[in-house]
Symmetry: C2
Subunit: 460 residues, 2 copies
């Protein structure tokens, strides 16, 4: 595993968050410094932190940015990983097998034998008038979160407008509610959470409105009002929403430009194409995290899904492979979970629209149940939607909206989906039962049973 000269092989990692640093750590675990030299470049000042934790930092649930940091730069350096902060890789050359690095106003090249591209996602930023006003915040990086917290502390805003009603938008709406702000949440779509079917999303709308959020759907925004360089409002079709602070939660797309510019294959999703072992189209070049596209095991198509747990798994697998082991990322089924105040939302697989788009004929059922036995204190409502293939009854997707104890049930459905179970087969699953944890038929089993009964009526 050493280079031909007998000197250590050189691994360069681009991106110091979950995927990149997992890859670096795993490679180091398997190969000592005399065998593998590791240089990691991070354009920001923080590495290996939980970006998913930023809403909770902003809400005040997490007291310090340091709490979100899994490992400090010093800890990586102790592992003999040459971590360089505030260092942005601006180009990859496959011919010369080197990267160009911009740092402190100058640039240099760094050679590699193996390369890991872990450049993450690029947040969608609106190209509208006034978008450069102070008080308009993205929440992608830890630096974004720290800046936002500082703005909140300095200006004590009263009215927040959150733009985008996806996961991050909802979590930021919760954070603003927790801090006592008035919150408007706007989205161009006619439902929040486009990863849910419309009927399930409408339960989320109800929950949001119940929390006092001024939810405005089918509401694109056309620009920002500002005064003295600070944002004062968000222009929407029927006027201007007053805003002392604006938070952008418009989602991200894979940050694959660097790879594409180097001639590495990028897929139709915008993500870098990798195989099961996280190898890109270029020899010795690996990619992991939000910048790649993954295999969706249900649609059997590539998908770009930005999620920390995938980034960690992919980084780990890439690192094991670079380290001389064998590890794969076997694809996703599209599981996700979120919370807004006391409401929980989860999904796995395909929505009805996604299933139709992938060519499936579908049917679906929605069932109401409770998180515990109905007579047990703290039994809370849970609504479960099952989407299945019309001819075979094969599970294609599931969605849950409920309260405490509801959402994590998606995992049993995700494992069932992983194995291509039919709803009929699922009715037999041996899921745990005791009154503090479930009705005698767990909501997952009730949902499967109703779907199986529905299927029987569809059959000729």
């Amino acid at each position: 595993m050493t280079s031909s000269s007998g000197s250590p092989e050189r691994l360069v990692v681009i991106g110091g968050d979950a995927a990149g640093m997992s890859a670096a750590s795993q490679a180091r675990r398997r190969r000592p410094v005399g065998d593998l030299r590791i240089v990691a470049f991070e354009k920001g000042r923080h590495v290996s932190y939980s970006a998913c934790g930023i809403p909770y930092l902003v809400a005040g649930d997490v007291s310090s940015p340091d709490d979100l940091v899994a490992r400090t730069p010093e800890q990586f350096r102790e592992l003999d990983i040459d971590l360089r902060l505030a260092s942005e890789v601006t180009a990859i050359s496959l011919d010369s097998r080197s990267v160009t690095v911009a740092s402190q106003g100058s640039s240099y090249t760094e050679p590699f034998d193996q390369l890991v591209i872990a450049t993450g996602g690029t947040p969608a930023r609106p190209d509208v008038p006034g978008a450069d006003a102070a008080g308009i915040h993205g929440v992608q990086t830890l630096e974004d979160g720290i800046r936002l917290l500082s703005y909140l502390d300095r200006h004590n805003p009263r009215r927040a407008v959150v733009v985008g009603a996806g996961y991050i938008g909802l979590e930021m709406a919760e954070a603003m509610i927790s801090r006592g702000l008035e919150v408007a949440l706007i989205d161009a779509a006619d439902q929040p959470m486009r990863t849910l079917d419309p009927d399930m999303a409408s339960l989320v709308s109800d929950a949001l409105r119940g929390l006092g959020v001024d939810l405005r759907l089918s509401t694109p925004f056309t620009g920002f009002a500002s005064s003295g360089g600070r944002v004062t409002g968000v222009h929407v079709p029927d006027g201007t929403l007053p805003a002392d602070i604006v938070i952008l939660g418009l989602g991200t797309r894979p940050n694959s430009a660097l790879a594409a510019d180097a001639g590495i294959t990028v897929g139709a999703t915008g993500g870098i194409v990798v195989d099961r072992r996280l190898r890109t189209s270029a020899e010795g070049v690996w990619a992991a995290g939000d910048c790649v596209e993954v295999f969706h095991r249900v649609s059997q198509r590539p998908a770009a899904i930005a999620l920390g747990t995938h980034a960690n798994k992919q980084g780990r697998a890439a690192g094991i492979n670079i380290g001389g082991g064998y590890a794969t990322f076997p694809g996703v089924v599209g599981t996700a979970v979120s919370k807004i105040c006391s409401h929980e939302v989860a999904r796995t697989g395909l929505t009805t629209a996604e299933a139709l788009s992938a060519g499936f004929a579908t049917f679906s059922t929605v069932t109401e149940s409770t998180t515990r036995a109905g007579y047990y204190p703290g039994a809370l409502p849970i609504t479960t939607k099952i989407i299945a293939e019309r001819t075979t009854g094969r599970l294609l997707g599931a969605q849950i909206v409920g309260q405490e104890g509801a959402a994590k049930r998606i995992d049993a459905l995700a494992v069932a989906l992983w194995h291509g179970m039919t709803v009929e087969e699922m009715t037999g699953l041996d899921l745990s039962y005791a009154p503090p944890f479930a009705p005698v038929w767990d909501p997952v089993l009730i949902a499967a049973r109703r779907a199986a009964e529905q299927l029987a009526t569809l059959r000729p």
Copy 2:
């Protein structure tokens, strides 16, 4: 589906709890009264209640015995089910195709074409001196629960001794703590919960002692002390534990005597042998619930497991089959869950001892994690044990001890077990992640990962 005479076929159901009444209801759903006459015999005065809810009734978490009743006798009668309470079936004759019924001091026979045996479990009762004293309570039936509540109200006991540290014993210990009693919990075994490995059970012991329970293991009891006909203590090897009330939680065995006496095959577990459709060895005779033995999908052996969720599924399947449909009970993987105050315990599959007994060579790993991201408020400890096959890494069992949010994770493991996944395969599972719900590697994934790493070191 009608009998040869053209008159309605006659279905007799023995036992009016979950299994029997599910069977009756499902059969009725599919066949009108002109096609199927249904008579159900229940020896007690209550039907279709949650026996699993009794500890919570006793604790005061559930305010009335009526809350535990899923359907009243009147509701069944409205479905044209001829439900006869306080009516005990004392014999089954396959030759004459009739049952003998004892009711109100006399007896009669009732003919059947189809028969469902749903006689449930028989609680183990100690055959020791003094066992007939007042204040010694079983908690199997709703009547038991009502009697116990009445005793508590009338005598206001201060010291409870719970005999047997299995699920019911732990739940009753919790109930007594909730009511403010001093609680001693004794068991002849050297660990509580024999359905767990000793190391995991020791976490339960710690939790019980932390709750102030006087837990005495390796402590068989030899009899009861009483005064004026009321229990005053429990004799154990090193003396007598004072007791104003004693609760027996010694488990149950399948109540299969009626079936065995009729010549219907009973297995080595003591449970009635049934096939996937719940058919016994006798034509037209079905059985469901705690009185049957089931196929354990991991050990591939029969097992007798008393659990309401199995009873419901089995009764439903039997009823669908009697109704002319097709439904099966595909076996169990041994999933169970319990709570004692803020502690949660769950298990699925085989313990190490069970796996060894079934002929597997095993290895195991124990991992510590948290129920939420470590930095998120309310992140609580969770310990996960994985038991896997030594050569293949195939999951054989899993156990969880933790606090709020821990135990229901067993379901994802139970579905993985259902499909014979290896620990290596499980590391790729797409389980839900967001900081309020899990660390970026869910405890289930961490456990699988550690087990996969452990396996790699075992390979030659």
